[in-house]
Amino acid sequence: MNPDASTIAAGAPIEVDLSPIAEGQDIKVFWRGKPIYISHRTKKQIDEARAVNVASLPDPQTDEARVKSGHEQWLVVIGICTHLGCIPIAHEGSYDGFFCPCHGSVYDTSGRIRQGPAPSNLPVPPYQFVSDTKIQIG
């Protein structure tokens, strides 16, 4: 009952052009049927994400570990709440990150869980920068 060959083939890596995304904006792309948020973070958002005491987080992880070095402004996360799979809304909630409307989980500007029932941070999908303005997800 696991995914069949065509489903797996359709899940091949995709490339996303980042140049149209202005600072402070984000887009949602679909990869393997999952929504992926790509946020062009502002300086303020990056600072907010790095100012927190990592040890105090429910799922401790530094912001540095969640983005590619040299591309700190880009946050790429799978937009599926780690609680029960709803899609969080970007730019909502008390941490200026993501807010899940189903059961009230709040994520920060690094996609880390800060409040609510979700057990872990929004996962970062496998991706790399092909060029400065293009990434390959998968």
Partner: protein
């Protein structure tokens, strides 16, 4: 099912079969001669009601499956086509969807009955556990059935429920992928759910056979909880129990028909009339009402794994009930403390159900935690403790003693009424109004609609005017993709003739092809064509309208709602109020205000609307006074336009509404007469036994 029978059919042909397969003897001993305690009350008719409902669900389900398409792109449409085009498809679908709810109503009564009268105690432990297994199978079947129409709530309910399994340590993610057959809920998921939804009812039927077998070995429990000792304590199953069950089923059918014919969408969710969209989570995901208490338990525990364990534990704990409650006295009738705690437990379950439908914030979370504790405390603390400290009242020596002693006491009907009210309450608490239109929007005012109430019909004039408004105003942005031109000439619609509908269709250009040269071409519309959509696809619609795609209007009056709140949703069942959608749509059309109230900032390209959730709507004020000319002299005001177009859209959402209400009346007349006949027959049959 209780040992060899000495029954011999008199017909030689039947005798021939009986010698080779003693099936008539089995039926005779199980359902005719079978001794049933003579003090059973009406709560014991729910076994028959449940068997009836299972048969009903399988029958309607098999026919629905003949017309349904289990494909993520086609499922939603195929369900709509069943409702619109299949002969009595609307009836089949309502019977099946409402039937699922009624099945659960009956099973909850049946379970609480077992709990109250101690029907799980020695020697009926296996019988009880089989019942819990049936209940679990029912929950799985009901959940997968709800996914099949592939609306928003189907999709997101499936997402949330399958994600429960991701809480399992280490292998959780793999289990979820296995359930999905992909990387997210999608077409493979829908296909396997359809397959299992078709399979599980037959598994249920199989376990029901075991359940009945176990029942007939151990014998039925009874309200006094003393086992039958002599022949005086029992009566033969037929005609006594048979006729009583028939009366019970007839009464239950009245409730069932009330929802089928008058409130078919009351127990569902408006969001499920929006096709599934993997990119947008509805603001407020709620399961169907019968899962709500368990959903409340899940949400009240802040840890994911612990929440999932608690939720499943709340059901599994029922299996251990025979060993948690070790009291010797079966029936709570003779257990003064257990009786009180039972009613508290019922209230806890109902309140948990209510909380399950509320947003998980503030006081609701705290109340949820307290009630979750109470739920488990009843099984783990109260029942074991009561068995040790409670002093039960003396039980009668035999059933016949209890029947003879009963003449004085008349408290039973009071208790029964309380149970009915309580269960009704739980049912209503489960009704989930979509919070969509409620969050951040004013409550739309009520209207007088010609189509409201049990005898409501559409105002033909309003339908024709509404069609004109749609055609001249709405149609430039909004599609009407489930409505065909031929529908305009169908009974219960705007009342056009077939020729008028054909003429109306020919004014449209419809894309057809490919022709012999392989090209697509345009031709005039025919009655069989559907209203063409203004945009080729959703992306085009989005791009042309500042990022917000104008929704298709075919189902809009059923897909929009607002929260009625307590206690209105209870009154609505009796008043048959179900016009939240039309009230909202007509209010929205009139809710534009040029002056934005202070403190509200609108995003660019948005307009202020009093009734829109969040107030910022992308649709500009669509219509103004005098924009559409009416031939019949009706006022050409926005208020009139809104009412007309809403009436028209109510018809597009449910073209067979008039047939539904008309048939409903006939069914009610029949059922009331039938139930009355059954009641008097039952009285006659039981006259000697009481």
């Amino acid at each position: 099912m209780s040992g060899p029978s000495d029954y011999q059919p008199s017909n030689p042909a039947l005798q021939w079969i009986e010698r080779r397969l003693p099936i008539f003897g089995l039926i005779h001993s199980s359902f005719v001669a079978y001794p049933t305690p003579r003090n059973l009350n009406y709560w014991w008719t729910f076994g028959a009601i449940l068997s009836f409902m299972l048969g009903m669900q399988i029958l309607t389900g098999v026919i629905l499956a003949m017309h349904y398409t289990p494909n993520a792109d086609l499922a939603f449409k195929s369900v709509e086509l069943i409702v619109r085009d299949v002969n009595y498809g609307w009836l089949l679908r309502n019977m099946h969807a409402v039937g699922a709810s009624m099945f659960f109503v009956a099973v909850y009564v049946h379970m609480f009955r077992g709990l109250y009268y101690g029907s799980y105690k020695e020697p009926r432990e296996v019988l009880w556990i089989l019942g819990v297994i049936i209940y679990l199978l029912m929950m799985a079947t009901g959940f997968m059935g709800y996914v099949l129409p592939w609306g928003q709530m189907s999709f997101w309910g499936a997402t949330v429920i399958t994600n429960l399994f991701s809480a399992v340590p280490y292998v959780g993610e793999s289990i979820v992928t296995l359930l999905w057959g992909g990387y997210a809920v999608g077409n493979p998921t829908l296909n396997r759910f359809f397959s299992l939804h078709y399979l599980l009812p037959f598994v249920i039927a199989g376990v029901v056979v075991l359940h009945v077998w176990a029942l007939h070995v151990a014998g039925q429990n009874n309200p006094d909880g003393v086992e039958p000792k002599t022949e005086k304590d029992t009566v033969p199953f037929t005609p006594h129990a048979t006729i009583k069950d028939m009366f019970g089923v007839a009464c239950f059918l009245l409730l069932y028909a009330w929802f089928i014919f008058y409130m078919p969408n009351y127990l569902g969710d408006a969001d499920n009339y929006i096709p599934a969209n993997p990119g947008v989570t509805p603001p407020h995901i709620v399961p169907e009402w019968y899962y709500l208490p368990f959903y409340a338990i899940l949400r009240s525990i802040p840890d994911k794994l612990a929440g999932v364990i608690a939720m499943f534990g709340a059901i599994i704990i029922l299996c251990f009930l025979p060993w948690l409650d070790t009291a010797k006295t079966k029936s709570s009738k003779y257990r003064p403390l257990a009786k009180q705690f039972f009613w508290i437990f019922v209230a806890v379950c109902i309140l948990l159900g209510y909380l399950g439908a509320q947003p998980p914030e503030g006081i609701y979370v705290i109340a949820g935690r307290i009630l979750t504790f109470c739920y488990f405390a009843y099984f783990l603390i109260v029942l074991p403790l009561l068995a040790r400290i409670e002093k039960p009242r003396p039980v009668p020596n035999s059933i016949s003693d209890a029947v003879l002693a009963k003449t004085g006491s008349r408290s039973t009907p009071m208790v029964s009424t309380a149970i009915v009210l309580a269960l009704a309450g739980s049912l209503f608490a489960g009704s989930i109004d979509s919070a969509k239109a409620a969050e951040g929007g004013d409550k739309p005012p009520g209207n007088k609609w010609s189509f409201a109430g049990p005898f409501g019909t559409f105002d033909r004039g309003a339908l024709q005017r509404g069609l004109k408004v749609y055609k001249e105003v709405c149609a430039s942005c909004h599609g009407l993709s489930f409505v065909a031109f031929r529908n305009l000439a169908e009974p219960g619609g705007p009342g056009y003739s077939v020729a008028q509908a054909a003429a109306f269709a020919s004014e449209y250009k419809v894309k057809d092809g490919p022709n012999d040269a392989g090209d697509m071409f345009e031709r005039p519309g025919r009655p069989a064509d559907y209203f063409p959509s203004p945009f080729a696809n959703e992306q085009a619609a989005r791009a042309a309208n500042g990022g917000a795609a104008p929704p298709d209007l075919s189902l809009i009056t059923k897909a929009r709602s607002y929260k009625r709140g307590f206690p209105w949703f209870i009154f609505d069942v009796f008043t048959q109020y179900q016009e939240q959608g039309p009230d909202y749509v007509t209010a929205l059309l009139q809710g534009y205000e040029d002056k934005v109230p202070e403190g509200v900032t609108l995003p660019e390209g948005s307009y202020y609307n009093k009734y829109f959730p969040g107030h910022a709507i992308k649709m500009p004020k669509p219509i103004s006074d005098g924009q559409v000319t009416y031939d019949d002299g009706s006022p050409t005001t926005v208020a009139q336009y809104s009412k007309d177009v809403t009436t028209f859209l109510m018809w597009t959402a449910e073209p067979h509404m008039e047939a539904r209400k008309r048939l409903g009346f006939q069914v009610f007349v029949f059922l009331i007469i039938f139930a009355g006949l059954m009641y008097f027959t039952k009285k006659k049959v039981w006259a000697a036994s009481h």
